[in-house]
Subunit: 141 residues, 3 copies
């Protein structure tokens, strides 16, 4: 959690841009272990990415799965989306791209990291994973 | 909404085929702005697409996220699936491909288009987006 | 159901490895027709796969959609995850990869296989599909 899948025009981003974008996305989840944040980039030629039936060479389409946490109410949801928008803007609108992003929330209890079911929200184990920035044996605390 | 992800054999479709297929998919959503309909194509070699554990060079696997609308009952769901099947047949069964398609419904309230949370179903703003076929500043109507 | 999407380092797996991994995944669903189990592999260069904002050349990220069945309770969920972990270990931890897997459960009633809505769980039609290992005309039984 989360997994970000980013479909972008072939020349949209350099490798350094992609790393900067992945790092920016990671900042959106300060309460989670950093290593929970996965980002994959798919470079799409215009004849493999269509919006409204038309090939597009300046569109970025982002699909996200949230696993570890769900938004508890629409105020938080709206504030987080505003924050995400501001954070991503340098990689999207500021570069002249049109874009769309949607997020799904998937069950936190069907999830494995290196064979372990990740610790519960705000548990002692989760705090240790955050501090170490890697999965550690679970104590159940 | 929606996002269609299509995994297909490498030589299954020409660029013109892909555009025709994306246009056909767009017709399945007449009540939505056309630009809501995203379609991405992934050309798969047989050693990267397996069905039942076997490599396949004649299988099309389609995964869809519906965001803006959810089916309200099984009658509508069934009729729409029949319509989708008829619409897609020229690109699937008629070409001798085996295929599978599944659709997920994701939360409409965790969704951004160019920084805006899209307008509600059948709102005045949504009608303006449909007519313009692009996102416009929201009036809240 | 299910659809497994596997993001892996470019040289992680040979074609034979991928087939063995897809076959191993298929064994995790003994109550389903084998042909329900789809697996797609995406080879990712380190500058297209980021974990915690860092490029990774030894990480396997797996995203799964379950369609035909949902876990009925956490005991079964936990046992199945343990089994999946054991089954996948030769392709993941045993090869020195870090990895993460998450599963979503999507609606079984928005799903088509070659134009048909697949038969219900444990129905006579499903048994015939299992035996034939291909979709057959539905009898409604």
């Amino acid at each position: 959690m989360p997994l970000w899948t980013i479909y972008h025009p072939v020349d949209a981003y350099t490798p350094a841009d992609r790393q900067a974008m992945a790092a920016a996305i990671t900042t959106l989840y300060p309460i989670l272990p950093k290593f929970y944040v996965g980002v994959v980039f798919h470079a799409m030629t215009p004849d493999t990415l269509f919006i409204g039936g038309e090939p597009r060479d300046n569109f970025v389409r982002i699909a996200v799965d949230h696993i570890a946490r769900q938004f508890s109410d629409d105020d938080r949801r709206g504030r987080w989306l505003t924050w995400a928008n501001t954070t991503l803007q340098p990689f999207l609108g500021d570069r002249g791209f049109d874009w769309e992003l949607h997020i799904d929330e998937t069950p936190p209890n069907i999830w494995l990291i290196q064979g372990m079911r990740p610790p519960g929200p705000n548990s002692e184990d989760e705090k240790r994973w955050i501090e170490a920035n890697r999965p550690l044996p679970l104590t159940g605390a």
